[in-house]
């Protein structure tokens, strides 16, 4: 045997060991850090039930309805309580078709499942519905497993928005696959926006703007949060064959040119709304799901008004800051909560500041290794040192922080690293990071109150994801940032 063999082998073994250790250490360290600010708890689920939550509705009297992928709806009591061992579950209805949107209104439980928007009413008070109504079922189905439908809560006018996955996630054989439909309270269905590929959730921001998450795939270089604007196109042209049935939408926009860039195609296709925030694949999750605002005005920590986005594969929750620049929604994403027991699909934030999440692993793997989970997260009233917001400036970015920064480190250019890239806009599945730009932070001006920093970043590249790493920045008390990496999608550069 070659006597050098062991020497050759050693680094390979070491590499494996160190990698495993580094991953484990990194994840555990993050979870440990999180536990200083947020308390994550598993809520006991009904015994001997394959639970697989797909939707959550918050009911009066702190009751919660959970719809499962097997089409069951269960009512939970005690999920807000201090002693979770007292949680009880009552079966409400079994016989929906994978509901992925649910809410409670005026004594009825409304749902969006694969087949319809409907509602269930318990008129005789026996805690089971005696009336199951189909409100609207305007979209087509071929029976393909990918034909998911995610529905919102109602907007102020009572409309529900449904985002419809492509058949098999890559064709539009059935009507309205690849569209967002508006369903009015009376059941009237109107095509609202085109360009959907494979959504994971849909919801509003705190101001009522509508978004859905779309997963990396054809015509979607990386997973992203897409802003849904009436009569506009969000990027994947496969469902656009149905413009012929959507006179309210206007003429069908031209198809994007294969292997182009979104920023370029926006010039050709005025209807194209760029993704508000792109989530770099594998870096900030890889299967985004639920979209909910933190509407609790501080009960869930210092991020009031921001968006929380669920993540299936990495079993995480990301945090998103959004702003409007030149009429286009855009903003930044940070990793936020992690360590959940399964892949997150539905989320709901209760008024009193408890985040409820449901997770399932079936069919699509996740870091959290349990087949399904139901959990809650509450803030411990300890403010983490984080970048709170990241706004675009004509020549850089303005960061605000959750607590005052140490002016020395925050004013030191060496505390920051910036780079930018984009993705190929193409009919192939996903995209590598391309057109990389090394940006430089050339000045850092710390505000007198220490709560914000203005960075000059050169160059800024329109259409690129700008990755800003603020590893060197310390708080006044000497803490580093919990999550130093921010990813800002610069669809538009503000005018000076």
């Amino acid at each position: 045997m070659n006597r050098f063999f062991p020497i050759f082998l050693f680094p390979v073994l070491l590499l494996g060991a160190v990698t495993a250790w580094a991953n484990k250490f990194n994840n555990e360290a993050l979870d440990q850090e999180m536990s200083r600010y947020y308390l994550r708890e598993e809520i006991p689920m009904p015994k001997d039930v394959v639970f697989e939550p797909g939707s959550i509705a918050l009911l009066p009297d702190q009751r919660i309805a959970v719809g499962t992928r097997r089409g069951e709806v269960w009512i939970c009591e005690g999920a807000y309580g201090d002693d979770l061992s007292k949680v009880t579950w009552t079966p409400y209805f079994k016989g929906l078709h994978e509901p992925l949107g649910m809410y409670w209104q005026d004594g009825a439980l409304y749902y969006t499942d694969r087949e319809q928007v409907g509602r269930m009413v318990d008129r005789n008070g026996d805690d089971r519905p005696d009336w199951v109504e189909t409100i609207s079922a305007p979209w087509g189905l071929t029976g393909n497993y990918h034909e998911y439908a995610f529905g919102t809560t109602p907007d102020p006018q009572g409309n529900v928005f449904v985002t419809l996955c492509l058949t098999g996630s890559f064709n539009a054989q059935a009507q309205w696959r690849g569209w967002v439909m508006k369903i009015a309270a009376d059941g009237t269905a109107t095509p609202y926006a085109s360009g959907v590929r494979s959504p994971g959730g849909i919801g509003y921001d705190a101001e009522g703007n509508l978004y859905y998450t779309d997963n990396q795939g054809v015509w979607n270089g990386t997973s992203c949060l897409k802003h849904v604007v009436e009569k506009k196109f969000t990027g994947c042209p496969i469902g656009n064959v149905y413009y012929k049935d959507a006179p309210n939408m206007g003429p069908q926009p031209p198809d994007p040119i294969n292997q182009s860039r979104i920023v370029k195609e926006r010039e050709r296709i005025p209807e194209l709304v760029p993704p508000a925030v792109q989530f770099p694949h594998g870096v900030v999750g890889q299967s985004p799901t639920a979209v909910i605002p933190d509407h609790t005005a501080g009960k869930f920590g210092p991020f009031a008004g921001q968006l929380l986005v669920g993540e299936q594969t990495h079993s995480e929750v990301q945090r998103v800051f959004l702003e409007t620049v030149n009429g286009v929604r855009q903003g930044a994403v940070w990793e936020f909560l992690s360590g959940f027991e399964a892949g997150i699909v539905p989320m709901r934030m209760a008024d009193q500041g408890t985040l409820f999440i449901g997770g399932t692993n079936r069919g699509w793997g996740s870091r959290g290794s349990k087949p399904f989970t139901f959990e809650r997260v509450r803030w411990k009233n300890v403010v983490p040192f984080e970048t709170k917001t990241m706004e675009a400036l004509p020549d850089g970015f303005r960061l605000t922080f959750t607590e005052p920064v140490d002016p020395v480190t925050a004013g030191d250019l060496a505390s920051y690293q910036a780079k930018a890239w984009t993705y190929i806009y193409q009919k192939k599945y996903g995209s590598p990071m391309v057109d990389q730009v090394d940006a430089n932070v050339t000045s850092a001006r710390v505000a007198p109150d220490g709560l914000s920093v203005e960075l000059t970043v050169s160059p800024l590249t329109k259409g690129h994801v700008h990755h800003l790493q603020s590893t060197g920045v310390k708080s006044k008390s000497g803490q580093p940032l919990w999550h130093p990496d921010a990813y800002y999608t610069l669809n538009e550069i503000p005018n000076p």
Partner: protein
């Protein structure tokens, strides 16, 4: 020992890890969520294991293609069937990243042979235009799975051409072998002969028995075969016929090497032979042939049977074979079941017996339609029972036993449709509210496959074409139909 290469390697390793370019790191990022941190498989059984898998061994192009262009459909990995969608990664990962990931996968009990960046680049260039996912059999045709050497040592296969009237195992003492060849793969196989008729093959070799005890030998063939251990017949498949006639015999063996002899005769048509053994010291069943013995009845591992709970009906809404994609299924206590198709307001399927297997929908991603758990299902309708009318489904009322009454509109009529099970089938009551005097054509059966079904109405007679003309007065009208299926 010189420490410099070691230090250098450690340094290189550190750089790799920090930059996130090492195979293990890339694997953890892009693959482990589904395939498991150690390649053990995951995603609740949707993603197959990569560790110790023949799919990850041998010709590297097989794996390169899967990663570049994706894989869709049915494959078998480590004896388990998967119906999967592996998304293509070619547009996301570079040649170097793919090579690093696959090299890491190769290190997970797959021989450890490196996959080079050049090899990935070559496959990518060759299939540059390809957009379709690969299918499993398409890949295996070009890149067969490597077969590990079988357990038969010093195996020799002899070939005998036979007369066309030879229908039983011949007397080999009177025959001269036409060919004889060593079989280094250690498995009984028909390679080179599977297209021929009228011949016999005899395999002779050795089998290593590790522990004392009783062993089972299973044999299946098209046509005849017999298996001998130390010249004693243990099992035979007699008579002409196809595969699927597996027989099992037992033998008590002592540790050491035993002689094994298998005789096989092919008359005409299809060919096949499969043999396996199990017993002390063997994990499960070990195949002695390149074709695996398939047990006749495949166990239904996915069965999730839905049943009524006590006096309450069971409901099931999913994609079901033989009906539309918005169908509500009801299983009543007592064994009557029906499927109501919401898309055409038709009572489409009716049967007595077991309700549904939800396994095809509730396991993995749910790629297969659900089917009733009974062979005798009456398909009553194709299309709407109200020909020429516009209809819209409204909803359903559920009573305290969860029995539904379906509500829908036909033209400007409001219909309540209530099936009630009894010991013969169902009694179906249509309550129709009309704004004025009217009539409605009702076609409760418009399908051919309803042999054995009886349908009668109280007060109405079916017309020649099987439809009923329902006379309507202003206000509420009620009609009753008896479906007999016993």
């Amino acid at each position: 020992m010189n420490l410099i290469p070691l230090l250098f390697s450690a340094l290189a390793l550190f750089t790799l890890t920090v930059n996130g370019q090492g195979g293990p790191v890339l694997y953890q990022t892009y693959c482990s969520a589904c395939h498991g941190a150690q390649g053990q498989g995951g995603a609740e059984g949707a993603a197959p294991p990569l560790a110790k898998s023949l799919w990850a061994q041998g010709d590297p192009d097989r794996m390169i293609k899967v990663v570049l262009h994706g894989l869709m459909g049915e494959i078998e990995v480590l004896g388990k069937e998967y119906n999967l969608v592996m998304p293509p990664q070619g547009a996301v990962l570079s040649d170097g990243q793919i090579a690093a990931i696959l090299t890491h996968v190769r290190s997970l009990g797959n021989g450890g042979e490196k996959v080079s960046t050049d090899r990935v680049a070559a496959v990518r260039a060759k299939y540059e235009e390809r957009e379709a996912y690969w299918k499993g059999d398409e890949l295996l045709k070009d890149h067969p799975l490597p077969s590990p050497p079988g357990p038969l040592k010093n195996l020799v296969r002899k070939f005998y051409a036979l007369r066309k009237d030879q229908r039983s195992i011949p007397d080999y003492a009177k025959l001269e072998a036409n060919a004889s060849a060593r079989q280094p793969n250690g498995l009984i196989n028909l390679e080179g002969y599977s297209e021929k008729d009228h011949f016999s093959l005899v395999w002779e070799g050795e089998l290593n028995v590790r522990r004392e005890g009783q062993f089972s030998f299973t044999l299946d063939s098209d046509d005849l075969s017999a298996l001998y251990i130390d010249d004693k017949k243990v099992v035979e498949v007699p008579g002409l016929g196809g595969m699927g006639r597996a027989k099992t015999g037992k033998a008590t063996l002592h540790p050491g090497v035993v002689k094994i002899r298998v005789e096989y005769l092919e008359f005409t048509g299809f060919t096949g032979i499969a043999a396996s053994w199990s017993g002390p010291g063997i994990r499960g069943t070990q195949s002695l042939s390149s074709t695996k013995v398939v047990s006749k009845q495949k166990p239904k591992i996915n069965l999730i049977e839905l049943k009524p709970e006590g006096n309450r009906a069971v409901h099931y809404r999913n994609f079901i074979a033989g009906t539309g994609n918005r169908s509500f299924s009801v299983g009543y206590p007592g064994g009557v079941n029906l499927v109501f198709n919401q898309e055409n307001c038709g009572l489409e399927l009716l049967w007595h017996g077991r309700f549904f297997d939800a396994g095809p929908r509730w396991k993995n991603r749910g790629t297969v339609r659900s089917f009733p758990l009974t062979a005798q299902v009456y398909h009553l309708q194709k299309g709407s029972p109200f020909p020429g009318q516009a209809f819209s489904f409204k909803g359903m009322e559920l009573d305290e036993r969860a029995y539904p009454t379906f509500h829908y509109h036909v033209g400007n009529l409001t219909v309540r449709d209530r099936p009630e099970p009894n010991d013969k089938g169902i009694v179906r009551t249509l309550s129709i509210k009309s704004e004025g005097a009217n009539e409605l054509v009702f076609a409760p059966i418009n399908s051919q496959s309803v042999r054995g079904l009886t349908l009668a109405s109280s007060g109405l007679t079916a017309r020649q074409d099987g439809t009923f003309l329902l006379p309507l007065d202003k206000g509420d009208n009620s009609f009753t139909f008896h479906y007999g299926i016993q």
